[in-house]
Symmetry: C2
Subunit: 541 residues, 2 copies
Amino acid sequence: MAAQVKLYDTTLRDGTQGEGISLSVDDKLKIAEKLDQMGVHYIEGGWPGSNPKDMNFFERAKDLSLQQAVITAFGSTRRPDFKAENDPNLQRILDSGVKAAAIFGKTWDFHVTEALQTTLEENVNMIYDSVYFLKENGIEVIFDAEHFFDGYKHNARYAIETIKAAEEAGADCVALCDTNGGSLPGEIASIVKEVKKHVTIEVGIHCHNDGELGVANTLEAVNAGAVHIQGTINGYGERCGNANLISVIPNLQLKMGIQCVTDNQLKQLTEASKYIHELANQIPPNSQPFTGKSAFAHKGGMHVSAVLKHPETYEHIEPEQIGNERRVLVSELAGQSNLLFKAEELGLSLDKKDPAVKETIEKMKAMEHKGYQYEAAEASFELLIRNGMGEDHDYFQLDHFKIITHKEKDGDFTTEAVVKVNIQGQSVMTAAEGNGPVNALDHALRKTIGEYYPLIQEMYLSDYKVRVLDEAEATASKVRVLIESSDGKDTWSTIGVSGNIIEASWHALVDSIRYYFMKQQHQLKRAEPIASIPNAGVKNH
Amino acid sequence: MAAQVKLYDTTLRDGTQGEGISLSVDDKLKIAEKLDQMGVHYIEGGWPGSNPKDMNFFERAKDLSLQQAVITAFGSTRRPDFKAENDPNLQRILDSGVKAAAIFGKTWDFHVTEALQTTLEENVNMIYDSVYFLKENGIEVIFDAEHFFDGYKHNARYAIETIKAAEEAGADCVALCDTNGGSLPGEIASIVKEVKKHVTIEVGIHCHNDGELGVANTLEAVNAGAVHIQGTINGYGERCGNANLISVIPNLQLKMGIQCVTDNQLKQLTEASKYIHELANQIPPNSQPFTGKSAFAHKGGMHVSAVLKHPETYEHIEPEQIGNERRVLVSELAGQSNLLFKAEELGLSLDKKDPAVKETIEKMKAMEHKGYQYEAAEASFELLIRNGMGEDHDYFQLDHFKIITHKEKDGDFTTEAVVKVNIQGQSVMTAAEGNGPVNALDHALRKTIGEYYPLIQEMYLSDYKVRVLDEAEATASKVRVLIESSDGKDTWSTIGVSGNIIEASWHALVDSIRYYFMKQQHQLKRAEPIASIPNAGVKNH
């Protein structure tokens, strides 16, 4: 089924105006490929007239093999009293080699006279000439009507005149911009309806999220007849961001019945959202609608039993439709049903009446009180349950460790860790260097343990996160360390909390190894070869 | 002017269902006081029938002296085939001593028969009896109509029957709940309008944000006649959260002309939002609408020059109305106008043509390439500019430092730092212990420097944040450390980036001290007494 609306993504241009968002050209190329796979129709790559980095992107984007998406350049109408063919900004669009361009122009009379300092007629001419020039050069043109909604509220006649000029010059689409993000859904709907009476070309919508209404305003515009939808992935963008396509797409497709992408592409939504968060170096908000980690997570005990019976009770769509999944959280609010559900997931059959179940809940609460949060560290949680059930996964015991960080006069920086552990009755001591104290500790620990359990070579740390819990205490505050580990197939997360970042990291590291050994033993039934026990006494490496 | 709608805050109950949100009773009491100051009318404190911690809150909340807000308890209708007076859940509401309660009941026929496993009539009786019982005991009652919108779509007649039962039993308000957060604004508006035809008591609205429409749905309900508004501060809540009152309030008051709070209370909105983020231990999202740090931040060079002339161009409201402020960001996208604006803010008069200005931009870009972000570290940025202008603020030079972290067999954990610096031509060496490596380094450095610059006693570190930049590299990844310092009056932020967390912290620490000394020298014109120079050679402490 063909898409009924066109998705115009401006993550690479408007998105990078967001505070803390910075993308290299390599990042931008990777994101462009992902957007194409997602089913986006236009990818606004940048503003070639303003930024040499953007021109480099357009150069390299020519080598991408995209399925459907059209790489688009951003720019503005010509300057007052210039000829379009002499305008350097329009010329850069031609130089970029794109097949489509979005150019913005003024539609609010006040801005024409105040900011541009030109006449209302000249502004209309600027729009007409610029669109005409690009069309003459074979480029598909989207006219971005800047400040359209504010302009329309102040002088509707003039605002309409500007977009009609774009239409007459041959523009393929006029995108109405709520540039400062302040409009309300009702205003957007009624103004889009009015515009539809005056122009016959495609009408588009470009919203910002300053009123926390970016998605709603976009949906209202589509209800009112807009068929070209601008936005960014995860809502990145200046100030409070742009309309979030990650929420717009499933609302349109699953709730309003308006086809945007294929069902298979929709199933990639969660993965795409996370991938782009990663490239933009943003922590994905847990509570992000649709694709967040918490979007289908159930915490309250009563909710959990209900949702297992009837998912629609607390889930507005099926998480699978957008590639997300249901989760049941473990926390101090957890009723017994959460814990039992969790245990069942882990393949443990717990007896409700077992006092060990109650004890485990108590232990968990005590740990949470210290700052542990098992929601994000399911491997540590599983160890806690299994310990509670009497299982023992102490493959090694710490004797002591020491970490020395040294900064020399010449700026050289070294970190060494010395670790002594007891393994199978033997004391083993070793030292290793690292890039920072935790890295050195990790290296030394792996070296020590590897002698007895070569299995450790199969696993590695894949992610490391630090969260300061009581920031007001500054450098003496408590930190929570989350470590994600992987063996190339599976990943698992462990946690440590302490006033000392090294100690917190140690706990998470140790849990990570214990968990992996436990899992492998279960599968391999202790088939994993273990090095023969060397002579008694300390072994030095 | 009296409020035209009533604000019902459920941060303390529904908010704590959010993943990662956990509040102590002390936190809840502090938040309750803040909500009252903000002008909230009802504070839902918890569910006394489900949680002993909540009962403790109600006990202690009696000692709060609130201006206006009514502490409210949450609960459910009686169980099937019980008498209301024998229902333990309703009894707990009485025990909690509140003047108002919200009780939820089923309105979706399918849930009555499937989840409650009772008849449709018994459910209506349960609603009637429970409301009647609480009213008879002198309690103001809000009936939370659970799953109302979904229920109405499936069986409108029955859904209306349930809320009419609440009305007949004396309920003061019926709050319509979009429990799974999946409704669209148009659906909310038309269903609220229908409900208004059937009941005469106050109609309320309770939305969730699963479709990123929580705020829009709430505003549409108000447009359709709802006058009681439920939500949470910062939108905390299960899954994707509840309707965010921090966005609902200014939209209603500043855009729709519906009075919620006083103008002075509105000016506290930003501070209240941040305060509650802090108590809930949440990192405030920069892009949070209205109150976020980036909500009125301008990054693109062109925007900056426009916004300084005509703020309404890129600002939907005046930031002062809600206690936020305009910021101009420094970044690789920065045009010259940003840098000059920033310099002017700092009281530096830069000459556009000065080659030092260009060099500073280049230097800044190189540092940003390494992972520095000056947006959040304006003190480090000021040092960078001033250095670029030829100023020298090297009050001390590092010779070397060493940090030793030791974990003993018995679990004891110690960290010591040894620092040697050169100050005014002298070498000074000292050692100190700390709670973690950075804390030890901070202590040792302050001890060393304090000998020569007693001024350092006036400042302290007030916040410490760590961000892993390339998390995929795990413990060998680059980290960015942000330190906030304070002298009790002013605060300033500095940054360090390195593969080693200790080195990154060192850079941020040193910048923090250099900045403070520079500021004090400017104000005090070198009047600060500096200890006399001791004999040459290393001084040991």
